[in-house]
């Protein structure tokens, strides 16, 4: 009972704060308190409804529906991200298990990890001469580090009891990796994948401003049209999509939470 009431209360507070925010935004914009011609919330909501009610039209690269652009961005992210996970997990396991792999690969990881992935964009364009592949490549570079580092850390800090059990049963190396190490480090892998996805979703918007098409390019295009309300629409959609993606990983992490 109490819980139901408090949930409803939380919801009511959230709605109220949203209403206040929308009204304040509208008032400030209308009065020109910030800058002149700043779009108000009503106008923004109007265009949000307009974009969302017909999301998938296609009138050439500079006039795509917001849904079409979103799907383009999501496709790039999912391909680059999946490739990165496919590379990062085995490599992370290798780094966690072998001192040799650890000491030979770690310098590169430490050196490359702090570099903004956008620095790789010209490299990608030069090598691939294709903006689509370059976008995927940039996302690949973005996504690889958190998953790699978390996986390697997971393996290195695995409970030695599990390995001893496996060894005492005479399990082969491959059985130990598949049946013991991988499930044991699943929480670490998922934590890494969650961070990777978050960063990839941040980077794709910036990368697409330079690549053409995608939700990032949509923002760049609307800036050229000086249509700030459409940029707000894109921000809302990007935020919402990122939230959903993050929640998905949160859900997976809960499923694989072994903590006692």
């Amino acid at each position: 009972m109490n819980k139901a009431i408090s949930t409803r209360l939380t919801f009511a507070v959230a709605i109220l704060s949203l209403l206040i925010f929308i009204i304040l935004w509208q008032v400030i914009a209308q009065q020109g308190l910030l800058v002149k011609n700043f779009p108000g919330s009503f106008k923004t909501i109007g265009s949000l409804i307009w974009w969302v009610s017909d999301p998938f039209f296609d009138n050439g690269p500079n006039d795509l529906g917001i849904g079409t652009n979103l799907l383009i961005s999501l496709r790039r992210v999912l391909i680059g991200y999946s490739l990165a996970v496919l590379v990062a997990v085995p490599l992370g396991v290798l780094m966690g298990m072998s001192k040799l792999a650890q000491s030979s690969l770690n310098p590169y990881v430490q050196l490359l990890k702090p570099v903004s992935p956008l620095a790789w964009l010209p490299v990608g364009l030069f090598v691939f001469r294709n903006s689509e592949i370059t976008g995927i490549f940039v996302i690949f570079i973005t996504s690889i580090w958190p998953t790699l580092i978390n996986t390697a850390f997971g393996v290195a800090s695995i409970n030695p009891d599990y390995l001893r059990v496996s060894k005492s049963l005479g399990a082969s190396k491959s059985t130990t990796i598949r049946r013991v190490i991988l499930p044991a480090i699943m929480p670490n892998i998922l934590a890494g994948m969650r961070i990777s996805m978050g960063t990839a979703w941040l980077v794709i918007v910036a990368a697409e401003m330079l690549l053409g098409t995608g939700i990032g390019y949509f923002i760049w295009n609307e800036w050229n049209n000086l249509s700030l309300e459409n940029i707000f629409v894109a921000i809302i959609i990007i935020g919402f999509t990122g939230f959903i993606l993050d929640q998905f990983f949160g859900f997976l992490q809960d499923k694989f939470d072994y903590s006692i």
């Binding site: 059990v165 005479g170 499930p183 044991a184 699943m186 006692i260």
Partner: protein, 288 residues
């Protein structure tokens, strides 16, 4: 089962089940560049040395010693989880090269895989040791051993949903499911409350009687060792711990927890063990 009994009866009893010859273990620090020249003794820590021991088939042997003397080290060597620095370990007349399913190991903190249910933990052991067995066979066998420790109702629970005593029973079932000839236990009941401990001790005894396994039990409880064992092995304080005494416990079985404490034989051995442990523990304290 058939396989095991035939294996056991075919052995020519010229040798004991487990024999340790001049066993020693030195832990070397990880080599650094500077250490290259001083290879050998200086950088190592000698945990145990010159351990000689014979354990007969189907007997129950306890190992007692002051904390940190090297009991776990000795058990890990027998399990084949670590390699000895010197000496050798012979099982059924054959020097061991590493771990093997002829020895079931029970670890101090249960060591159940938290991502597997109770029954899956046992199935993991079975699948690893008997890869040729069908899924149904494995499941059937896992069930049988869960029933043996009275946990068939908890077969689909995860370790985090079990009490400490239940977890240890799963670990016992897992170790027994692979049908080992020898059970190696490292302070299996140390973390349990007194009631659960006595309950599991009784259970272990009945399992031991029914399954005919050789048990090597590490414990720090004199009462536990006296209640359960045929032989008690006393270790001296480390470093370079040795076996300082072997005591046979020729008390009649089944032993009654209450009555046994009035037995003069029991009291005599108990006194001897207490004296030894006190002396060795004092030795540890004087060093540190």
């Amino acid at each position: 089962m058939n396989k095991k009994s035939s294996k056991k009866s075919s052995s020519n009893e010229n040798y004991s089940h487990l024999e340790l010859f001049n066993l020693g273990k030195i832990f070397f620090k990880e080599k650094k560049f500077i250490d290259f020249r001083s290879k050998g003794n200086r950088s190592g820590f000698e945990a145990i040395k010159d351990i000689n021991l014979k354990i007969e088939k189907n007997t129950f042997v306890s190992i007692i010693g002051p904390s940190g003397c090297g009991k776990s080290t000795l058990l890990n060597l027998i399990a084949g989880l670590q390699a000895p620095t010197s000496g050798k370990i012979v099982i059924d007349g054959q020097a061991i090269k590493g771990p093997g399913p002829d020895r079931g190991v029970i670890f101090q903190n249960y060591a159940l895989m938290p991502w597997l249910t109770t029954i899956q933990n046992i199935e993991f052991a079975l699948n690893t040791v008997f890869p040729a067995k069908t899924k149904a066979d494995v499941k059937e066998r896992a069930r049988k051993y869960l029933r043996m420790v009275g946990l068939e109702k908890a077969s689909n629970k995860f370790p985090k949903e079990l009490s400490g005593g239940m977890k240890q029973r799963v670990a016992i079932a897992r170790a027994l499911s692979i049908n080992p000839n020898m059970l190696l236990m490292d302070e299996p009941f140390g973390a349990l409350d007194a009631l659960t401990r006595s309950y599991l001790q009784d259970e272990l005894l009945s399992i031991w009687r029914k399954n005919k396994v050789t048990v090597v039990l590490i414990t720090h409880s004199i009462e536990e060792a006296l209640l359960l064992s045929d032989k008690i092995v006393l270790m001296s304080s480390g470093p370079s711990a040795i076996i300082s005494e072997e005591i046979s416990v020729d008390l009649e079985r089944p032993r009654d927890r209450e009555k046994i404490e009035q037995d003069p034989k029991y009291l005599k051995i108990k006194m001897r063990l207490e004296k030894h442990l006190l002396r060795e523990t004092r030795a540890v304290e004087e060093v540190t």
